[in-house]
């Protein structure tokens, strides 16, 4: 039986070493090899609950990388892997990851009832205002289109119960107003959004 995911990540991080804090100016691509082992080399994650990173806005990636490094988002494997990285190094990583291809959406679409529920939710909460009409994201709002369905659900639930720290307050307000069924509807729709 495989070790829990967290343990596997820690072992991987230890084996590959931290991301060479400060000492060398290794190109971002090299430094990201251990990251992409979980997050996927071509922008798409096949690891449950681990997000795809392809075509995420660089601004968003940088804020998350800094939040992990400073332990503002307390996910220990992420903090360990980023320990010692400078702002400039994180900028380089963010820019590189942003250029990875967008993850392909799941095939098919949600049923018309779900589609209508999602349409009203998007209208009410103005998702498209920050995340763009095609949900490709911008600045501090991440790409949602084609993201892993399990990760989207986990993120929304995290904002709702305050276990996920955000850089800005908007998502906590949005998620507070969502039922768990709403979260599931949104995750299913966005994972299939083209």
């Amino acid at each position: 039986m495989r070790a829990p995911r967290r343990t596997r990540v820690l072992i991987l991080a230890a084996a590959l070493g931290c991301l060479a804090p400060g000492a060398s100016a290794a190109p971002a691509e090299e430094r990201l090899t251990p990251c992409l082992a979980c997050h996927g080399e071509r922008g798409q994650s096949v690891t449950p609950d681990v997000p795809s990173l392809g075509a995420q806005p660089a601004f968003y990636l940088l804020t998350q990388l800094i939040m992990f490094r400073e332990r503002i988002r307390p996910i220990e494997p992420m903090t360990q892997m980023l320990r010692g990285a400078s702002d400039e190094e994180l900028r380089g990583m963010a820019d590189f990851i942003a250029r990875l291809p967008a993850p392909p959406p799941l095939a098919g679409s949600v049923d018309p009832g779900a589609a209508e529920r999602v349409r009203l939710l998007i209208q009410q909460h103005r998702c498209n205002f920050c995340h763009k009409p095609d949900f490709s994201g911008e600045e501090n709002a991440p790409r949602l289109a084609g993201q892993r369905e399990d990760y989207l659900l986990k993120a929304l639930r995290g904002y709702k119960d305050n276990t996920r720290r955000a850089y800005e307050p908007q998502m906590a307000d949005v998620a507070t107003a969502l039922s768990d069924a709403d979260c599931a509807d949104l995750a299913a729709f966005l994972a299939r959004a083209k």
Binding site: F59, L62, T63, I66, M67, E70, R71, I72, D87, L90, R91, S109, P112, A115, E116, V118, R119, L120, I122, Q123, Q124, R126, N128, F129, C130, P133, E138, E139, N140, A141, N162, A166, Y167, E168, P169, Q170, A172, D173, F189, A193
Partner: protein, 423 residues
Amino acid sequence: MTSLLPRLGGLAAATAGMLLLAGPAAAQQSGQPAAPAPSMQPQPTTVPGRPDIPNAEVNQQLRGVPSPPAAAPADKLPTAQLTVPKGFKVEVYVSGVANARSLRFGDKGTLFVSNRNLDKVWAVTDRNGKREAKVIASGLDRPNGLAFHNGTLYIAEGTQISKLEKIEDNLDNPPKPVVIYKDFLNHQSHGWKFMALGPDNKLYVNVGSPCNICEPPKTNGQIRRLNLDGTGAEPYAIGVRNSVGFDWHPVTKELYFTDNGRDWLSEDLPEDELNRVTKMGQHFGFPYCHQGDFTDREMGWGRSCDEFVKPVAKLGPHSAALGMRFYTGSMFPAKYKNGIFIARHGSWNRTKKIGGDVIFVTLNRDGTVKSWEPFMTGFLQNNNYIGRPVDVQVMKDGSLLVSDDYTGAVYRVSYGNARVAGR
């Protein structure tokens, strides 16, 4: 479709919406080819309880303006584009303080700088002719508020106030913050807290409304004051949506505070406010009345603006008036004495942004506002930000510091032949 739906009530609108966006099943029953999948683009219709939607195409471009999480490098600061009146000069006081927010001096001249999105409090010192910034507290939750008294720095986070005693003597080995008060609800919207020490040596702290527009809980939508040991907390001013700056008149000792107006009402209404508290417990209108002269379209039914205290000045719609201090120095010309400098962070909920500046407010003898004018401009260039001022602080020599959470820098504005601040 555009003209029909906004007139319908909630359920009718949703039903009409569904019929107009008929799914494949309905189409097949009538023998026609399957209709295309429902469009995911928002339709111009009303949503139950949300008359502020229809979504026009224009307002869909409006979104919050996040501050970059890393400070701008010193050689990339926009100082050259910041303008001040004749005779004044702008220079960088310190840079590299990512997410620089509130400013507060210690008795020994240390400048403390807080964070909102990030987790740190910084101390800026001049040692051996060199200015340096160092982190003295980290791992904090939105530590926006700072106050200083008798050697102790007080920090207001999202849900607690803590203290660092004898901090200026221990900057290289600062003590861990000790919590003195934590009776706050935990909310993200307007959860960060500006704080200041009053002339009565009590801590005053903003407790924001946890929403854009709503009836806040009785514990929120107020400026609260408490003793330095955390006891005796009481609301001082209520009906306050979200204040991120306040200070006391040097002579009358009255509290003046800025207040940010609601969003998603219109481009031009309501304006942000400057308010004056003449008696503890006064109600300044939120959520029922905005800017002293109109009732809210959702919350204001059955209310009148006459029930509430009107602002002493309106500071522009969506200008984000934040930090403010009375000018008590002697460096600037006489007209600035006992007037107020206010940092306007700048709009997000407005197509043509305003603010991104520091304004100066002239008061009448009776404490009302005579006029206000721009003082330091240039943070907004062609409707885009190159910086966003958050707080102001008068230095002992009478110069004015301005924090900028967009670049992570603090600027110093001086007048005349004053000695340069150096690096």
